[in-house]
């Protein structure tokens, strides 16, 4: 499934290189700074420069093209739609008018500028986040967030979610496959099949939820036997050389 490519990003962030070794707090700060600049400042130059930088970083760590395209394409396509909308519908001084299939399309200068700005902003901000996630394991990000005074509760739940997403993911996929093998997901282009697929999906959701609930009981017990006192990430274990 598509989501496999998401998990690929996680696997990629585990590799060892200059960027993964860098302190996560620095990477987060740089990313936030770059994002702010891209979004707050006008003009084409800055987003282009940043995009060039992030691209070369991704090249340097040899990111597979599959990951980059998989993650860049959807927002870029959406951005392109917006770009078209803006260029055609934004009022202002006309640059060009086209006749397509008897329809008169007018392109306005302001719209073109705006559309391009938005498109470039999207491309470069997605690439910034991509770089961050390709070089930083989520648990490191979690601890960086703590340092940035994000409420502890949020970070703790985030880390538990990250940890157990993989466990539940495997379980959920197995249930889904077991359903598929007994024809629980027939072709949903006909009404009966569609109903079945929706039914199977809601059963799957409920089963995963029930599993999660039961596992929480055991996890809590395991925490208790190791002196749990209400804090899940009491203190980060320092990396040792």
């Amino acid at each position: 499934m598509v989501k496999d490519s998401y998990l690929m990003v996680d696997a990629f962030a585990q590799r060892d290189n200059v960027f993964t070794r860098m302190d996560a707090r620095i990477k987060v700060s740089l990313s936030v700074l770059a994002l702010t600049a891209v979004i707050a400042l006008p003009g084409f130059i800055l987003p282009l420069i940043i995009f060039a930088l992030t691209s070369s970083l991704m090249l340097a760590v040899r990111t597979p093209l599959k990951i980059v395209l998989g993650r860049m394409l959807p927002p870029v396509i959406l951005g392109f739609v917006v770009f078209l909308l803006m260029t055609f519908f934004h009022q202002g001084s006309q640059v060009l008018s086209l006749k397509v299939l008897g329809l008169e399309l007018e392109i306005y200068r302001e719209g073109l500028v705006l559309g391009t700005t938005v498109l470039l902003r999207i491309i470069s901000s997605v690439s910034i986040l991509l770089c961050l996630s390709l070089t930083t394991p989520v648990h490191e990000l979690g601890y960086a967030l703590l340092w940035f005074r994000i409420p502890r509760v949020i970070v703790e739940i985030l880390l538990l979610t990250y940890r157990y997403l993989f466990v539940l993911w495997d379980e959920g996929m197995r249930i889904r496959q077991a359903q598929a093998m007994r024809l629980g997901y027939p072709d949903w282009r006909n009404p009966a099949g569609w109903k079945k697929a929706v039914n199977s999906t809601s059963t799957l959701m409920a089963m995963v939820f029930i599993r999660a609930y039961d596992r929480a009981e055991n996890t809590f017990a395991a925490m208790q036997t190791r002196g749990y006192n209400g804090e899940v990430t009491g203190q980060r274990f320092k990396k040792t050389a």
Binding site: M8, Q177, L183, K196
Partner: protein
Amino acid sequence: MIMEVHQVQYTYSDGTKALEGVNLQIPGGQFTILLGPNGSGKTTFFKVITGLLKPEQGDINIEGRPLQEFSREELYRRIGFVFQDPNDQLFAPTVGDDVAFGPVNLKLPPDEVSKRVRDALEMVGIPHLINKPVHYLSYGQKKRAAIAGVLAMKPGIIILDEPTAGLDPGGVREIMQLLVKLNKKEGISILMATHDVDLVPLYADRIFILHMGHILLAGTPAEVFSRKEIVRGAQLRLPRVAHLAEILANRDHLAVAELPLTIGEARKMILSNVNGDVDAYGS
């Protein structure tokens, strides 16, 4: 051949090469065991041959036809897959509903559906549990219910991923006897994965040893376990009685013509040594 697999490769998206060119042939009607250590690719292989994962490379033929030519429905009428954890597989609230799930999806008439449900539960020996909620079943009963759900599709091959894992000795015996019955009486081909070495010689017609995504050895239990070094190199071991016989042969120089794999074979071997009629035994 009910199944032929040729040079199948599969790599997970994180880069793990789980299968690196698996070849095997399974004749119809046999009880086949796939033996392999943790992480050798057993589950991956089963998912590939049941069409749940697409191999990057290789051919799979079921009953002589390429796998990809089958529609889902055709395929799952032929192949049933029992997952390791029965909780993954029992999704309806009651046992009866769950077993009916497949037949209903096959769009069988209601009479036929309820006949199949009753027959399947009868075969696995839990007809009385038909209206029980699934989560009140014991682990062994869940295993049986999961097998019944697959049986109700009337497949020609049943594939089971570690069907005895987590069961006590009594439960193991019951499940294995159930599988033997399905194999011998109903003529269903059985293909199961396990790493319980002692089970193999008791039940398997033919075994395959999978290790790091390769088939290391194939053949009858006697053929495979005679290659002791290879078996041990694959994080496996010999059946306990075979290990005993090996020590008796190597260190104590008893006469061991062929390594005994079951208690019955070991008994014969020891008796012939005790009685001194080694020739009679060797024949």
